[in-house]
Subunit: 198 residues, 2 copies
């Protein structure tokens, strides 16, 4: 008894999703084909569209449909401070605090040698160039206070200070091992306020 080839291929393809093993890929494929063909169709289109139109902002490196994202293009932000975060969700959390009016740079990750994530994977050359645009006076490191986030902050700090950029780090207002995405806005705002020189 054979599984249809196209079904096998769908199950295999679903495994590109993080955290999805063979069992849950099978369950997902069955669900889509049996109970949600409309959803499957929408998902296929959404993947195609996103692959075509989503790239990274040339300035802040976050996901963007334009070469320069709306925030970087707005002209309404303070160009003298550049806040470095790990992920777009961290940027969104920071925005919700209203404690920062400057620009961002999104690393799209954190240093993690065991996972093969080195300086190149977190776009440090792009950051170095961005920080030396002549307007940026201070780079604020807002990576997580996890082991990897701290190592990333340390590495970025070494790199940028070599090039004469002033660097600060958001204050430890968060619990040890805490991730920005899971901290309340008040704590995060205070951490931003109490940032210290490195």
């Amino acid at each position: 008894m054979q599984t249809p080839a196209s079904l096998d291929q769908l199950i295999e393809a679903l495994r590109c999703l993080p955290g999805v093993g063979p069992k849950s890929a099978t369950r997902m494929a069955y669900h889509l084909l049996q109970r949600d063909r409309k959803g499957a169709n929408t998902l296929a289109s959404a993947l195609d569209t996103a692959l075509q139109v989503v790239s990274h902002c040339q300035l802040c490196n976050t996901f963007s449909e334009q070469p320069i994202c709306p925030m970087c293009a707005s002209g309404a932000r303070d160009s003298s401070t550049l806040c470095v975060v790990e992920m777009p969700t961290d940027m969104m959390m920071m925005e919700q605090t209203h404690a920062f009016q400057g620009m961002y740079f999104v690393l799209m990750g954190r240093l993690s040698p065991l996972d093969g994530i080195g300086p190149k994977e977190i776009h440090l050359e792009k950051l170095l160039k961005r920080a030396q645009d002549g307007l940026v006076k201070e780079v604020i490191l807002a990576t997580n206070y996890t082991v990897e986030g701290e190592a990333t902050a340390h590495y970025v700090s070494e790199l940028l200070s070599k090039h004469g950029v002033k660097i600060t780090r958001i204050a430890r207002g968060m619990p040890m091992g805490g991730e920005i995405e899971h901290v309340d806005a008040g704590t995060l705002a205070q951490a931003m306020m109490e940032r210290r020189g490195l």
Copy 2:
């Protein structure tokens, strides 16, 4: 600060997958766009292809690319026994025991009124017609020994016996609450051997 619309749509579309909430949909979308665009592309194609070519076998109701699936079409199986299972994975498990040489019918689910899964959703009219083809002498109920699987077996048994079909149930060789997919082949083979009349 806005998330690109196409990224939002992808995150929303990923939520059609069972067990995927907003957080993990976001994580999946980031992963695909940032680290596995090839995988995302393959997934989109696999979804399109599967939606186009995968349907249900007219005889056994399992997923199939042909109107009649290879197993039903083979002519090598015993047409006098029809084994009713909940899912295609159950059929595969049963095949691995080599304890059964007859035909199958796959309900593609089990009765679950709370989830809106009634007799129609598990294709009981199709099963009734299938069981009355003049060749089937015995219908073996191999639904799970869970509450829902037992209720399904009971319901199917009532329905078919009304139409004079002989019905048996695989023996309880499995632990209470056990699912066929998770039982070892030996236990399952014994349960098949010791099936009892209902």
